[in-house]
């Protein structure tokens, strides 16, 4: 399936910050790095469920606000000594508009 759903505009997500997209199955955190890379990952730290969208964004990583686990936004993998992974979702930015694969929403709805 190649359908993409628009979820918002690039400037609606703060630089070095994140916003959430609410789906029936949970929140997806959409990140924008200092260099305008956009990533989407599950908004839930595998350690203790911390909302990753609230963490400090540095380079291509985010630090969980609860216990400082660091995740790579592109792969979803925990960095350093911690082991774990969050789901990542495909996003696409065209003309400043952010799109997410429609199948993400459908999967989430099931």
């Amino acid at each position: 399936m190649n359908d993409w759903i628009e979820i918002g505009r690039l400037e609606q997500v703060p630089l070095r910050g994140a916003r959430c997209v609410n789906t029936p199955a949970g929140k997806i955190a959409v990140f924008r790095t200092a260099e305008n890379q956009v990533y989407a990952i599950e908004n839930r730290c595998p350690h203790k469920g911390g909302p990753l969208s609230e963490g400090i964004v540095h380079g291509g990583s985010v630090t969980c606000p609860l216990h400082n686990w660091v995740f790579d936004l592109a792969t979803g993998e925990a960095q350093g000594a911690d082991e774990g992974q969050v789901r990542t979702f495909a996003v696409n930015v065209v003309d400043g508009r952010i799109f997410m694969a429609a199948e993400v929403m459908l999967m989430a709805a099931e």
Partner: protein
């Protein structure tokens, strides 16, 4: 009979394709070109030097009229094609010329993107795309008026520099926080902005254009924040988009661009397309290198070589502004599967960054010294494994000898007269010579004897390498704990350098202090943000994205992602009205838990993030402000009832507590600050385990500080005794200010005392009244900008994005 090839568009891409075609098979086609512009093919990239006056139009012509005649090409100048008849295989121009084709090539290029604001049609608003635009701008520049260039990308900056050269007063406005953010990382963008300013061009970033003002002619530009800049010329250079109008009219497949495959074929087998108007695998192209690659593929296809295919590769960008050296290529985003090498030379204005993946270069950003750009780019394209030269790679090609070099060897390779310390003019042989002659063994020794690295300290790394070179393994560098992995500097050095070098922003600091990462980490960013606020009150703009979540949304995050909200209760006093408001808020927002805190206030626990502004609005309405229960700043001032009620009370401890809290709230400090005022030595307010405490006695006030009752339990130390409330407030404010200026981020007051010693603190705050006054005045000044209730700001709309989802997708409603 020859096949007939018709080309719509006469830009650089079809020009290159024809050159290739004529090289391979010069007699295969009869060629007809329609050019919407009334001229021959020219080098569009070189329009900027034409605008700045460094070149003329004749200098940038690629194919003169003679070339078209020599190859028997029919060139229709100023003829825009209006329709393509795919059934009869003909094209027709606006002025009625019809030509038939066997093969058709669409190369309509791109059109400037016009931001949809009122006033874009006024006279004096131009785009920057072709020679006509340049001519309009050069004419306008003759009047030497004011120009506003909207767009801080490649095109906008070149236009700005050109207009500046032509004598106009130029302002560049850019919607993003740093210039050229698509090609440069923020550090290089910062340097570029500084260089633009140095040549007299004003730069406004994060600026949203609201409208262009004027009646018939443009008179100015208004921004979303209401500010206005007068302008006689407005250049719109925010970007381009593929020109697909004609292709869409002809019902060829097109999305953003005309859809072509890797052979440059459109959805019609007789029609090809190339250049900025096309889209290959979803990507469009604006730089010349991939367009020339397309031209080669197209020429091969036209000659019958169907194997030729177009593969997009990373492209390099250079800014064509004289005196600005800037180079970027490939993918320079960070990622944890990537490594980066950063070299900064602050005094020379050099920034170099390489991004590596699996030991191969995948991107580079160079500023100031771009000499090695093509070398890096070449290795990027050829996928060269850089493991062998890893340690010296960033120094460039000249440092790559036969054998692998280490960074110390690179320093060893410097000539004797190479300047190491720019501040004090100390060369390499002076340092190595002095180390040997005087038997020096440490960095401090070298600083004392040669002054090298004794001023700004940015050459410390080089001096240490020279010590290592001269002394060998006997050199043991002093262990200064670096702030984090992004720097070798400790907190104290960073604070000293912020003042010494007048560093006023985080990107500036990271450049000048040669940070090893491009945007820091979760450890250094909050620290730097605090140091900036504490050093430059009223000037530095707080960077919310460098704060932990609690300080960014002004509430305390809980384990389930909800928040707790604690309003101030001055000195622990409250009233029926406040309590009613708190009860109403708890009911209205179904707040699950209400608790009394240890700091004599009330905590509302389990508030949903999206409810925070509503909760605050109701608390504000009852006169309450944020209790800063989340802040590295003043928390509570706990009091007992003192002489108002207590039979033992010696002074009005409640009143003094309220005065202290009202005077000191809002201040940011290295770590949290809790205070208390007890009305007698029985100490019911527990002042002797606080960061600052006051014990009231008959003769006045004993001031104590540096207590803790958390991870460590520690009683306070006595600071001094004062006679009046006024003196008590002055001492406490001065003490807090000294701590604000000396404390390392996250270092509580008791740890600060342990580090600097009681003697130095008493010398500044107790014994020298002038110094005390100095610190007090600085605290008062800083408070002018700090005492803004963050809740009220957010109730009024600040950071609204924090409290709402970007998008909501509900469960689809079942059909009935």
């Amino acid at each position: 009979m020859k096949e007939k090839l018709v080309i719509i568009g006469n830009g650089m891409a079809p020009g290159r394709a024809l050159e290739k075609l004529f090289e391979t098979d010069p007699d295969r086609y009869e060629v007809v070109i329609f050019n919407a512009e009334p001229r021959v093919n020219y080098d569009r990239i070189m329009l900027s030097p034409v605008l700045s006056g460094e070149k003329s139009f004749d200098d940038i012509v690629i194919h003169g009229d003679a070339w078209y005649i020599k190859h028997g090409i029919t060139l229709y100048k100023g003829c825009k094609v209006e329709t393509i008849d795919r059934v009869n295989k003909t094209v027709t121009s606006v002025n009625g010329i019809t030509e038939s084709y066997d093969k058709l090539v669409i190369a309509t290029g791109s059109v400037p993107f016009i931001i949809p604001v009122p006033g874009v049609n006024l006279a004096g608003v131009v785009t920057y795309r072709d020679l006509d635009d340049v001519n309009v701008m050069m004419l306008a520049a003759k009047a030497k008026g004011r120009a506003v260039v909207i767009g801080g990308g490649l095109l906008g900056l070149e236009a700005a520099a050109g207009l500046n050269e032509q004598g106009m007063d130029v302002t560049v406005v850019h919607v993003m926080p740093t210039l050229m953010e698509r090609q440069l990382d923020p550090a290089a963008g910062y340097l570029l902005g500084e260089s633009m300013k140095a040549r007299g061009i004003k730069v406004m970033t994060s600026a949203n254009t609201k409208q262009i003002l004027g009646d018939k002619r443009v008179t100015g530009v208004e921004f979303a924040d209401g500010s206005v800049i007068p302008a006689d010329l407005v250049v719109m250079a925010v970007g381009i988009r593929p020109n697909v109008t004609l292709a869409k009219t002809a019902e060829l497949a097109a999305n953003r661009g005309i859809v072509v495959d890797a052979q440059m074929r459109t959805s019609d087998p007789s029609i090809y397309a190339l250049g900025e108007c096309v889209e290959v695998s979803g990507a469009t192209f604006g730089l010349v290198a991939p367009l020339y690659d397309m031209a080669n593929v197209l020429a091969a296809q036209l000659c019958g070589d169907e194997k030729a295919t177009f593969t997009p590769v990373a492209t390099a960008t250079r800014l064509k502004v004289t005196g600005v050296n800037l180079y970027s290529a490939g993918d320079f985003a960070e990622g944890d599967d990537r490594e980066e090498i950063v070299l900064r030379d602050a005094s020379a204005g050099v920034y170099k960054r390489l991004i590596l993946k699996d030991d191969k270069i995948i991107g580079t950003v160079l500023y100031g010294d771009t000499g090695d750009g093509p070398w890096f780019y070449d290795m990027l394209k050829r996928n060269v494994d850089t493991r062998e030269m890893r340690d010296t790679l960033i120094f460039g090609q000249n440092y790559q000898g036969g054998a692998p070099l280490d960074p110390t060897a690179a320093v060893a390779a410097l000539p004797d007269e190479a300047e190491i310390c720019g501040c004090n003019g100390v060369c390499k042989s002076k340092i190595t010579g002095t180390i040997t002659a005087k038997g020096l063994t440490s960095l401090d020794d070298v600083r004392a004897h040669t002054k090298a690295s004794a001023s700004c300290g940015s050459c410390t790394g080089l001096v240490e390498k020279l010590l290592l070179l001269t002394l060998g393994d006997s050199y043991n560098p002093a262990a200064v704990q670096p702030m984090c992995k992004c720097t070798d500097l400790g907190h104290d050095d960073v604070r000293r350098l912020i003042i010494a070098k007048e560093l006023r922003s985080i990107p500036q600091l990271m450049q000048e202090l040669e940070w090893k990462t491009s945007c820091g980490c979760a450890k250094c960013r909050p620290a730097l943000n605090y140091y900036m606020i504490a050093t430059w009150p009223g000037e530095y703009e707080d960077d919310g994205q460098s704060r932990f979540i609690n300080e960014r949304v002004h509430a305390n995050i809980q384990k389930d992602g909800t928040y707790s909200v604690v309003p101030r209760m001055w000195g622990g006093m409250t009233s029926p009205n406040e309590l009613r408001a708190i009860a109403d808020v708890a009911d209205k927002f179904r707040i699950p838990a209400v608790k009394v805190t240890g700091g004599q206030r009330i905590d509302l626990l389990g508030v949903k993030k999206e409810d925070l502004p509503g909760v605050w609005a109701d608390l504000n309405a009852a006169g309450m402000v944020s209790g800063a229960a989340y802040a590295k700043g003043l928390r509570t001032v706990k009091t007992c009832v003192g002489s108002d009620w207590c039979r033992f009370g010696t002074q009005d401890s409640t009143g003094l507590g309220i005065k202290l809290e009202k005077f000191m709230w809002g201040s940011w400090t290295p770590a949290k600050v809790k205070m208390a005022v007890s009305g007698c030595p029985r100490n019911c307010a527990e002042a002797t385990c606080k960061d600052v405490g006051v014990i009231c006695v008959d003769s006045g006030y004993d001031i104590v500080f540096a207590g803790a009752a958390g991870l460590d339990i520690k009683g306070t130390e006595p600071l001094c005794h004062v006679d009046t409330e006024e003196d008590a407030i002055e001492v406490i404010a001065a003490l807090t200010q000294l701590y604000r200026e000396q404390g390392r981020y996250l270092e509580r007051m008791y740890k600060w005392l342990k580090r600097v010693g009681m003697e130095s603190i008493q010398a500044s705050i107790v014994r020298d009244l002038e110094k005390r006054r100095f610190y007090y005045d600085r605290f008062v000044f800083s408070q002018k900008f700090a005492q803004v209730d963050p809740w009220e700001e957010r109730v009024n709309g600040k950071d609204a994005h924090e409290f709402a989802a970007l998008a909501e997708f509900g469960v689809p409603q079942a059909a009935e």
